[in-house]
């Protein structure tokens, strides 16, 4: 059974009126990393996942979940 880390970064980011570049600036990564995490291409480290959750003011377990 394949598992995948899904997220709702895009909707939360848009809710906070942030661009990918602005969110990247907040968490200290490049815009392309935000882009690949948003699209599910790249699975972020726990550190980055927590930083993203803090920047978007959302609990990390709400921002990311495992999809089967």
């Amino acid at each position: 059974m394949t598992e995948r880390l899904a997220n709702k970064i895009k909707s939360e980011r848009e809710k906070a009126s942030l661009t990918q570049a602005a969110l990247a600036e907040l968490v200290g990564v490049s815009r392309k990393t935000i882009n690949t995490v948003e699209n599910g291409v790249f699975t972020p480290s726990a550190t980055l996942a927590i930083k993203l959750a803090q920047a978007l003011s959302v609990p990390v377990e709400e921002l990311f979940w495992i999809e089967r």
Partner: protein
């Protein structure tokens, strides 16, 4: 212009630079192997290959760890792309080495220098192309 914008522009430039260097290395190797190569082209091929290999290392991060732009250029997304591209390069080198091993059964005249050139070029060039493609795809 913010550090994120500068890093974005530099990452794109780096990716296109990698594609150019990979193409140039292949072109020089073709000249060397076609029999028209001189000591200069041999040296150029070796220099290009070493340059390419060094470019695959995060040297700037080691030299300037406190620079914001350098940190963004080598964030965890770029590190993952680098790891994956080095894996691609490793397998390309293995495949070419095995292909030469097979061919050497029918053509015993293949020299170690020739095999070394092809294996090294395949490994480094495919790693560079893979890194450039991953970076450009991530930036879309």
């Amino acid at each position: 212009m913010t550090a994120v914008d500068i890093a974005e522009r530099k990452a794109r430039f780096r990716a296109f630079g990698f594609l150019f260097l990979a193409g140039l290395t292949c072109a020089v190797m073709i000249i060397v192997r076609s029999g028209r190569g001189t000591d200069f082209t041999q040296g150029l091929w070796l220099g290009l290959l070493l340059g390419c290999a060094l470019n695959l290392l995060p040297i700037k991060r080691w030299l300037r760890p406190n620079s914001d732009v350098v940190r963004l250029l080598d964030d965890e997304g770029a590190r993952a792309n680098r790891q994956l591209s080095c894996t691609v390069g490793f397998w390309a080198a293995v495949v070419v080495a095995l292909a030469f091993q097979l061919v050497s059964h029918f053509n015993a005249a293949i020299g170690a220098e020739e095999v070394g050139q092809y294996v090294a070029t395949a490994g480094i060039v495919s790693a560079m192309v893979a890194f450039a493609i991953l970076e450009l795809r991530a930036a879309r």
